[in-house]
């Protein structure tokens, strides 16, 4: 009955897990951040929690992976590798865990095999437990990651994604476990990934039992979400039926859609005679005491809708996507349509599209399709990713293929031909990593590290922006949320203190703000007793540029036929594939738009010469904004 520490070898670790009479706990701080705080919990807070979390004796701390790698660089301005390095210094004994989306790594679409292997190799230097899944439970999609984790000598934790419905039987899942074990061998921990927090406690207990009947020695790690408020019940049944590791997090920050509180799990299972192995309850309590006062600073990122959502059993959105979905609804002004989207359209779309698992990137496809169906008519404006799903680019449908009428709606009358010509998983050829290194060197103006290159290969533009941010603003992770996430500015005379990356203490006193006649703003700060002034250019008032006349969907389509391409919806430009002066043929990709993490290519409707490119990568667009102009060839 021992605590598992980072320095143990895998064999003794697995032996300890198998022999344990109780159960172990993973603190899923990352999932809590992603589900209940839109991924914004800062490294600063995790470092505050680190000493107590280290003392608490968890099996592992899930602190990276999922969407967090992207959000680290995009919204938290922290280097995902530096984060792990600093946490490792603060927590030498605790294993670190990640959540990896298989072929899609920490992103939203498949990466080439050499990028996957390179990424896993670099992250495996810090990450001990690799929870890997595929949203279609298609084991080949996880293979490259599983192999590299094995090579790095780290713990493989492949997942069976769990959902409910007539197809989701014990027999199906037990067979799936067999398929995984055939690839990995027995020295793994197997995760039941219940990202939606679906099913009843009884259902989960039965599933764990079925798997244990088939594979008595297999170590089962139950992962759930508390969206309906009932995950402690599912955890209890999982443990009573033989699961050896379960997920929970710190009660000072638990919310609605993420993990339940560690302490509640411990208290509940104690009454069943089950002990949380290695756990120091006092340290669990101390962790929450250490970070409780930080929570108010994250209030702006908490859910737009407060309270548990038992209707998750109907819409099945994963906890990790609840926050961002509601945020999109609020920003997009359709929060009032949520009951229709969540309780009517989404379940319908789920069923129509094959009842696969609503988890990244499948959850985004289901969600955007449901939203689009409600807003623009059913399957009237399919995203590029929905098309790829229907074409089988992500892998085969697990139970059944969507009905013909959906294919017809999405691909037109000739859909059978399209499917025959373009269908099936595409072999993604390796990327020329050395060429990418050169490109990154040019963009940064210096030779990147391996770690910088890894981040760049996954999120090229956001990585470059982040590294430039660091050059300009330094290592901003040192700022507490009370500064980094402050809204409405600082009161005159407020004193801000923090310790920089090199360990030096600083004090900044907020001085006056002065606006000059030409619109410049001077901000006076007293920095370590030296007066400093920072000047900001005037902000162009919104609406200064003449607003594009509102175009209807039909008008936009008509203009496109004439070669005048307009943004069909609010989006960001994620790639521009053409240059002015270039000849294009019908069907050539002109650019790629991204909205709600889904990409939609814009293709030439007829052959011609590209006359004007009006956008650049990263630009955000409103519907009707000019994209490119093609001089269509006559005849």
């Amino acid at each position: 009955m021992t605590r598992i520490t980072q320095d143990m070898d895998i064999a003794s670790m697995l032996a300890a897990l198998r022999q344990a009479d109780g159960y172990y706990i993973t603190n899923t701080a990352r999932d809590m951040s992603q589900s209940d705080y839109k991924n914004r919990i800062l490294l600063h807070t995790d470092l505050l929690a680190a000493p107590a979390r280290e003392a608490a004796g968890y099996f592992s701390l899930e602190i990276t992976g999922g969407a967090s790698v992207h959000v680290d660089i995009l919204r938290k301005q922290v280097d995902p590798f530096l984060k792990l390095e600093l946490l490792r210094q603060a927590m030498p004994n605790t294993m670190f865990q990640t959540l990896c989306r298989g072929l899609n790594l920490f992103g939203y679409r498949p990466y080439p095999a050499n990028v996957i292997r390179f990424t896993v190799r670099e992250f495996a230097k810090y990450v001990d437990v690799w929870r890997t899944f595929d949203f279609l439970n298609h084991v080949p999609n996880m293979q490259a990651v599983l192999e590299e984790v094995g090579k790095a000598g780290k713990i493989n934790e492949p997942c069976i994604c769990f959902s409910t419905g007539p197809e989701h039987t014990d027999a199906y899942y037990v067979a799936k476990v067999g398929e995984i074990l055939a690839v990995t061998g027995a020295d793994i921990t197997l995760c039941i990934k219940n990202h939606g927090g679906l099913g009843t406690p009884r259902r989960i207990g039965a599933l764990v039992n079925a798997i244990k009947q088939a594979y008595p020695d297999l170590i089962i790690h139950y992962h759930g979400h508390n969206t309906d408020g009932n995950d402690v019940g599912r955890i209890t049944e999982a443990v009573l039926n033989g699961a050896k590791i379960v997920d929970a997090s710190d009660h000072a920050f638990t919310g609605y859609y993420g993990p339940p509180a560690v302490l509640t799990v411990i208290q509940t299972l104690k009454d069943h005679g089950k002990t949380a192995v290695g756990i120091d309850e006092a340290a669990v309590i101390a962790t929450s005491d250490a970070i409780r006062d930080q929570r108010p600073h994250y209030a702006q990122f908490e859910s737009q809708i407060k309270g548990f959502q038992p209707t998750v059993q109907i819409h099945k959105l994963p906890g990790g996507a609840m926050g961002s979905s509601l945020e999109q609804a609020a920003k997009g002004g359709f929060l009032d349509k949520m009951p229709d989207i969540l309780h009517k359209e989404l379940p319908k779309v789920q069923e129509e599209l094959g009842n696969f698992w609503s988890v990244t990137p499948g959850s985004q496809i289901l969600w955007t399709t449901a939203v689009s169906n409600v807003q623009h008519g059913r399957y009237e404006s399919p995203s590029g990713d929905l098309k790829n799903l229907l074409l089988g680019k992500y892998g085969p449908f697990p139970f059944y293929q969507p009905a013909d009428w959906i294919y017809e709606k999405v691909f037109g009358e000739d859909w059978r031909k399209v499917l025959a010509e373009q269908g099936g998983a595409e072999a993604i050829s390796d990327m020329d990593i050395e060429q990418e290194r050169k490109t990154l060197t040019d963009r940064l103006g210096y030779e990147p590290t391996e770690q910088q290159l890894v981040i760049y290969l996954q999120h090229p533009n956001d990585a470059v922006n982040f590294y430039k941010f660091e050059t300009e603003f330094g290592k901003a992770y040192v700022l507490p949320p009370s500064i980094f996430l402050r809204q409405g500015g600082f009161p005159l005379g407020e004193t801000l203190s923090f310790r920089d990356h090199c360990g030096k203490e600083h004090m900044i006193e907020v001085g006056p703000v002065q606006k000059s006649a030409d619109g410049h703003t001077n901000v006076y700060l007293n920095v370590d007793h030296h007066e400093r002034v920072y000047v900001f250019e005037p902000v162009k008032p919104a609406g200064a540029a003449p607003a594009a006349a509102k175009l209807s969907k039909e008008e936009i389509a008509e203009l496109a036929k004439a070669g005048d391409f307009r943004a069909p919806f609010a989006a960001n430009v994620s790639a521009v594939s053409v240059k002015a002066g270039q000849e294009v043929a019908a069907g050539d990709q002109l650019l790629v738009l991204e909205a709600m993490k889904m990409q939609t290519p814009v293709v030439a409707e007829a052959a011609g010469v590209l006359a004007v490119v009006s956008v650049k990568v990263g630009q955000s667009l409103q519907p009707g904004d000019k994209l490119v102009k093609v001089d269509v060839k006559e005849g």
Binding site: R40, R75, K76, Q77, F469, E472, F473, G474, K475, A476, V478, L479, I483, F484, L485, R486, Q487, G488, G489, F490, L496, F498, D500, H501, C502, K504, H506, I508, V510, V513, S516, H520, T521, N522, V523, L525, V527, D528, H530, E531, R532, V533, Y534, V535, F536, V539
Partner: protein, 372 residues
């Protein structure tokens, strides 16, 4: 007077006759091919490099350095054409180049009756493109004997020329030897450092002399004490070959003050750097009783400047005053060329300033755009 001394060749002639040590050089070269032949012969006699100078030039302009005989012909023609265009006089002359000398000069003041005093030496070796950036009084790396000798020589030179009013006698100093260069017949930018170490108001004295009054101070009344340094705060980008920042507007201007800090300038918030004039914003002159104290005060003063809008020479100077050679006083006119590391600075580079910039932006915009 300016007629005599503003013409460098006349000045050389007067000085040679008075026995003032001089770098070997020529009279005005003859016109055309004959002049070129004179130059070739001079090069053969004294060796290269040699300096080809416009007789009517000044302030570092109209000077060309010639490394070898085969370059002479082209430079000769161009130098004449340029001198004609710039100064309306195409006369040129030659001097042997003293490689890596110190630039040492002496402030002198003389009245019409011929009483002439000096205010000690100045070291103006730190230059860019032959134009001064930093001036130090006294030239403390010279021994007291050398300082005395060079000052007396300056007085002698001024008397020889019959010089009246405030002026500067400039020397090249190399390996303990010094050579007369020229007499500047005007008040120079760097007169402030001499004022700081002597307590003499040179400008007031100059006006009084011009009004015909006699010099009321004697040499024995002049006491040199402490150290003074002037740094020219220019609106220039040192990293880009000191390119002037003409046309930019000073958005914020805050200046240092306190004991031993003197500012001569006219810069203010809203001032736009003119495109056509000098890029000098303000002269920072700092006094201290010891050299270390002076350098510390320079650092404080430079750090207390806030000039936002144009790039300035301030971050470059902050780098300069931390240079071990500068601190040791070990520099000559090649200092910037031999200390390229001085140009490796970042504007506002410290980690805390970067973070403060982010905090200012969060404050200004009412939220963190990088976390939105």
């Amino acid at each position: 007077m300016i007629d005599n001394l503003g013409n460098k060749v006349t000045a050389r002639k007067i000085m040679a006759e008075a026995g003032i040590p001089m770098v070997p050089g020529t009279q005005n070269l003859q016109a055309g091919e004959a002049g070129l032949q004179e130059a070739v012969a001079f090069g053969k006699q004294y060796g290269y490099p040699i300096m080809l100078k416009a007789t009517a030039g000044g302030g570092g302009r109209g000077i060309r350095k010639i490394e070898q005989e085969k370059d002479l012909k082209d430079h000769y023609a161009m130098a004449r054409a340029e001198a004609k265009a710039a100064f309306g006089d195409d006369s040129v002359y030659l001097e042997k180049a003293v490689v890596k000398p110190k630039h040492i000069e002496v402030q002198i003041i003389a009245d019409k009756k011929g009483s002439t005093i000096h205010l000690g030496t100045r070291d103006c070796s730190i230059q860019r493109r032959n134009q001064k950036l930093v001036e130090i009084a006294p030239a403390f790396q010279l021994t007291p004997e050398q300082q005395e000798a060079i000052s007396q020589t300056a007085v002698k030179a001024a008397k020889a020329a019959g010089y009246f009013n405030a002026g500067t006698v400039e020397f090249l100093f190399d390996n303990g030897k010094f050579y007369f260069m020229e007499i500047n017949t005007r008040l120079q930018v760097e007169h402030t450092v001499s004022e700081m170490i002597t307590g003499i108001d040179v400008v007031r004295t100059q006006i009084k002399l011009a009004m015909g009054k006699d010099l009321s101070i004697k040499q024995e009344d002049i006491h040199l004490r402490g150290h003074a340094v002037e740094m020219r705060i220019n609106a220039e980008d040192p990293k880009n070959n000191f390119m002037p920042e003409g046309g930019k507007t000073v958005r914020v201007y805050r200046s240092p003050g306190g004991y031993g800090v003197r500012l001569d300038g006219f810069c203010y918030q809203g001032f736009t750097i003119p495109q056509v004039y000098d890029s000098l914003l303000v002269k920072l002159t700092v006094f201290g009783w010891s050299w270390n104290e002076t350098v510390d005060r320079l650092r404080r003063s430079l750090n207390n400047f806030v000039i936002i809008g144009p790039k300035t020479t301030i971050p470059f100077y902050l780098n300069l005053i931390n240079d071990p050679d500068f601190k040791a006083g070990s520099f000559d006119t090649s200092f910037l060329e031999t200390h390229e590391q001085l140009f490796n600075y970042e504007e506002d580079s410290s980690e805390v300033n970067k973070l403060a910039h982010l905090i200012a932006e969060i404050h200004c915009k009412g939220g963190n755009a990088y976390a939105a």
